[in-house]
Symmetry: D3
Subunit: 326 residues, 6 copies
């Protein structure tokens, strides 16, 4: 019973060893929160952001809510994945059709290296939230494509390679408010513009994932399937609580769920997760992983206010899935 992450070695992955007395599958970075509002002048908060390996360094696209509370995407760079230099100005996307390029709001980005470039997907305002798509080679210039779907949609997450010759994306159809429902679906595209062959992947079940579920970081390709870290929402009498779980999806038919965690792997329990603009949120948007060691660093938004970091390994998640799954 073992698992191997597929892909290239990532030598300078941010990492801390698991504390001795920790019984959890995921442990937090000792210097959390990693990124706070002070990092960018004019920021109300920095959270739900995506980082990616880039040459020997790291790059990222960050959700920044301004002091107007407008949701923006900013580009950032880091040598070690811990200390980040983030642009003061939001990304200005180049788009052929100005109707598509017109900025309304952008949030909860994901970034993936796919074939020859980095793709960014995010929740893009176009007569309601939908999935914006853009690419960049250098995190300086970004080229915006057509929105993948009709509104209303959130949490669009690309797979890191084509599947059976087509681009593939997970997403969560929603409505235009604080959506109290949400399933994960799978869609395909021959050209990153037109999407179809939609398949249902998974629904809310119970407990921490009883209200809605949505894909988190880019799925991690492993010997056993796609390792998907996802968020689940529970509705208390005082609002939503966002936790995180893990699932294993079939490699070639990713809408087939092999395993899915019954228990959460991460939930709000630290002050920076319990307190902030939206209390009780842990929301993973990105991970870095190293095939050689199986180490995984998870970047997650906390309390819709700050960005935090946590660690695990593919082995730990895999064993967790054996024990605590549906």
């Amino acid at each position: 019973m073992s698992i191997t992450i597929l892909g290239h070695k990532l030598k300078n992955l941010p990492w801390e060893e698991k504390p001795k007395d920790c019984l959890e599958p995921v442990w937090r970075y000792s210097k959390n929160p990693l990124i706070t509002r002070e990092t960018v002048r004019g920021a109300n908060s920095i959270f739900n952001s995506a980082v990616v390996a880039y040459k020997d360094e790291f790059r990222g696209v960050f959700r920044i809510d301004t002091k107007e509370l407008v949701m923006e995407l900013h580009s950032g760079r880091s040598e070690d994945g811990l200390s980040w230099n983030i642009d003061q100005e939001r990304i200005e996307f180049n788009a052929e059709d100005p109707e598509i390029g017109r900025f309304v709001y952008g949030y909860d980005p994901r970034v993936v290296f796919l074939e020859d470039r980095y793709y960014v997907t995010w929740c893009n305002g176009y007569h309601g939230p939908t999935i914006g798509v853009a690419y960049t080679y250098d995190f300086e210039r970004f080229y915006q494509l057509e929105n993948a779907f009709l509104p209303f949609n959130r949490n669009g997450v690309l797979f890191p390679r084509k599947i059976k010759g087509k681009f593939a994306m997970l997403s969560r159809p929603s409505d235009n408010g604080h959506t109290p429902f949400g399933d994960i679906f799978y869609s395909e595209s021959p050209d990153m513009i037109h999407w179809g062959c939609h398949r249902h992947v998974m629904s809310p079940t119970a407990g921490w994932q009883s209200t809605k579920v949505g894909a988190g970081p880019i799925p991690i390709e492993t010997s056993e399937g796609w390792l998907l870290i996802y968020h689940g929402v529970w509705t208390s009498c005082n609002g939503f609580v966002y936790s995180a779980g893990v699932a294993l999806l079939d490699l070639e038919r990713p809408w087939k769920v092999i395993k899915r965690s019954k228990h959460y792997i991460l939930n709000p329990r630290m002050p920076y997760e319990n307190i902030g603009d939206v209390p009780n949120v842990t929301f993973p948007c990105a991970s870095l992983q190293d095939p050689e060691t199986g180490r995984i660093a998870i970047y997650y938004g906390a309390a819709d206010t700050v960005t935090a970091l946590a660690f695990t390994t593919s082995e730990i998640l895999y064993h967790f899935l054996q024990e605590h799954s549906y």
Copy 2:
């Protein structure tokens, strides 16, 4: 100031002349309701259905709610468009992937002849309502394609020809209940499977169309643009009221609205429209038109219970749009 319907002559269009004292742009068939539950054994109601010219006759796909109140699609045929013979059994779609072909519910169909076959679109149950797509050559065997969009969507209406080389569809993104919002969007597809290049067409405005709007019959190609009959919803303290209006869309960029009616052209005021399973609904789903005379016959659901028929001409609608438009 004149308008011409494009396309082939339709010689046996159902028709009644406008009553002398009628001041309205649309007048009802004197023998309404046209189709009632008695037509099909086991039917609770027959409404929101689509008819189309077929050789020298007519064919249709009908929404039938059973006495279980399950929404089904049935095939039907008629020589004169008035007297209909409707199948007792629902359409069994042939689909390559059984997950797509599995029947949950189907309602509010539209039918269009496009290139070499008849396409049916409808609100299809797949983990929520979305747009089902199928085709038939003979209204006997129907072949189901992939759902066009992710849930949640309703009122998917194809254009009767490719636009700039792509299939084109209007639809209304929704949620999974009695959606209290709804805009019309335009989407394109190279292959009737993958859809993209989504464009916003129109939003609710005020009065009878203040809650939501959705495309009705297949857009009618005219010399001045696509003539679109659509429904609009107003929310009274006792629920939704469905009326109908008309718009003119740009021929090559149909998401550009040239004119849009400020006044309704049809609203619930007859007993069979005010009374039934859902009081106060007039919901057009199909039209037949004759380019030579400009005559248009509109089939519409009434009170979510029966199918009714009304008449107008392209000239009348065009002049109405000059006088009562935004």
Copy 3:
């Protein structure tokens, strides 16, 4: 495949033969509505009422909403079950404890002959709706017992005999408003005061019975099980629609459902059912049946405004259940 109603012959059951062209399992009385507001001075409406055989005549307890729109119970008598003489004043229940006897409101009564007397159950206002219980020997003097359950509850329906030595009741737990949910439960009592051994009987399913279900008339004992006519509610965009179905329950363990109709047997389609204080309601509360002929007369409220009558037979319902059941 046959069914026999158990019990005593009822010679003067109100009856009309099934119309020739009628394909439905239940047909309406040709002189519906049977009882209207004119019957009782000061009545706004008379509906959802219970009748029962009494000696060679009939007696009943009637829901009357006054012109204040207060819900009251009135006693009534009839020789033929068709023409009713109803008291102008509401029933004044005698109760040992004045806190229980205090009148707040009473509605939707059921009446059953059980052992040596007639029991009345109804929706009784006691800090919210719950199930009131009383008995009478003569429909003149009524003796109120303890409420069967804690609020919130509606549609309490007694079985016409003890089951395994205990009184038995169906009911539908609810909340204190226009409850948008509702299952039928079964409860037992050794003394008609203390109730326990609660068992779940059935939940809403789909279509016409997708929002809530509740027991209607007193279950009819047959050779095949308890024949239960019940109501089901569907939520349209304009509110609730109340239809009726039928089920067969196990004789000794009545919470075990043997058959349950997928199709409704009665739904709102006549003007007096579609129009009134609450449009689109057919709500059966009582039946009279004759073991010898299998004839069943169903009394039902229509549009929360009038009382109507319909007919069927045990054979027809039984065959209907074979064909249109879950």
Copy 4:
């Protein structure tokens, strides 16, 4: 026990004698509905309108919803109070400040002769519904004053004379939707511009008046107090039902309720009241009365679609209040 209407004789009051078998305090005009959409070209509906005696004739301000479903006020005239000639165009109010005069919507007018002119009050759109005020001498030119109150308010009804030297108005504070609450308040003004000394008059109670209450026609001054016909709303599972009741208010301190009807005097039960744009609405907005005979003609909107007429007398209402009051 007797009552006298104060004021000038009204000789040509529209009138029909009470039908012999009628037990109700108010009886309907035999030719109802009085005014329908055909009266004004472009009207969707004409209802909730106000009429007033004018010289030897009658004048009125009418609520007309256009086919856009925009709510407008139109001026009208009649010789007999039955046959009405209504302007095709809405009233254009003259206002000093264009911000006040800007038309958004206007509905549910009341008209009163006060001192030397006719005042019109209505629900006026100014950043939400509030009470618009205007006056006219001739029903040709109307002069708009300041809105009486801040939003959100509806059903502003002036008293026909100053009380203790101040203008006096009843109104019903509300919110900006289908307000599910509503009490009647009393306010005073020295100049018809500034309003204060607000007093609570009455709240919803139970039954037909359990959701909200609002003043109807101009209060009728009598020897026993102000006779106020008002509407009350009950919330069924299918929406609001509007009935009418009557109250007697203290002459000099009109916020003191002397009597208030427990029973309604008018409720929806005719097809034109049960069916229409908003089913189940009877909504009185005006009355004509003759001191000599005590006759009262009540104009009321029915089903938010048509205007209807009903009759009563001050004696009948007064005796009704003795018998059916809180």
Copy 5:
């Protein structure tokens, strides 16, 4: 003006003296929170739990939400009432009827010694929340009886002795969500199976107890009546806030409220009460008391996350009730 707790001396009651500067009637344990998630492997949280004296030690039934967020009951033991050893596995109840014994969820337990055994009541999942009942002699084996009531019910609390020969229970009828209403009722049973003679005890009033109220620990028998510590809920714009109050109920007719606190005795103000899975919750479920000294130790859940402890005396509560009561 004095009060005596009835019952047996409890010598090793957990206790801390009231801090000098404390003006409150209840003071917190200095080492709060008493029990945290680390106590039980796999626990997300431990709160709203019941403890009871057992021989010279203590036993308890604990609400544990797992990392799946399933609500479970676990058995625990302690020598001093402070340091607890709690089972890793949930209690498996023995039930005669497997339909009753089937585990769905269990939460908010109460435990009472009654006659010869310990009874446990809790919120038990059976087609909605209702009151589960079980007994144990040793906190090792538990025997489940019938659910006391139909759904929907929560906070079932037994009295520690029969009253007039019958078992007696307080409970709070609810609905199936985050119930925004809730009164306390009293019910009786001759056999712990069948329940009846339901009486209303108290409703929400204002302020901290304006949304709902529910019984907390087992009522404490005193010379002056039953001392009932209960919770009350206030709805802020950010959700529910749970505080605690105290009432005195008549000894023989416990639905008669002698005194009821207008002020809360405990409300959320410590970090472990303000922050957690559900912020702003203090929810007492159990108390230990010593007749000799009048000392009372209150166990309460905090923020739906941890278990905390607080202290008071019967004298203090009694005087508080004299000063701050309705």
Copy 6:
């Protein structure tokens, strides 16, 4: 580009210099929270309170929620504006009409010196929340006038001088719950009793002020217009978040907005702002300012639990408005 505060010098304004590294326009008092529940025996919380200069000292009216959670107004005094002595008993207003003087609840006071006395306005319970008005000369005796408006209204804030000869007030019409909308309006009065000439000032826009806005402290008269600090509310999935912004209103037509901040100037980010009875609230109700230095001290409620203090200057706010405005 400069601004001058008009009015008299305030020599002993509470003040702390801006911290060196602070980039915000407003900085918090280092000893926040300024006033906590311990200040007044029996207080649950002290927040949303108004202070004002009085001779060489300070006086104030404080919102105190009791341990019943009843909202009261208390009078207080201070020499330095930092250390406050607050009455244990609530203000008993003297009112001519006992119906107006009857205490239901009072909250969120504002105090202003106007002509010859101090006026207090607050949210006053009179059949719903509305604006209470009173005056005092000495903060010992308070004289209550008529409520300014009909319910439902909150945040009534007087201008510190008559404008064009009339008293002037800002307010926010609301409903009777946790109002999810709210605009600021302007009203005038010749006599502080009758109010009219209502004008719309500003609506919610986006981000932190997307749900509702309301006036905060008394507007500060400056050379450039009225400087208005106001609150704005954003609705997260976990409830309301209250931030503060600033606007500049025209001196003689204060409903004309010259500038309005797009960014907030203060938002919840300190523990005493994020945690408490209502998490995430910063709610300014009063300011003290010194024309000579331009210094402004802002008193604000935090988390509906404590009173806090912050500082800024007129120059800083003015420059902020130049840079971050609509």
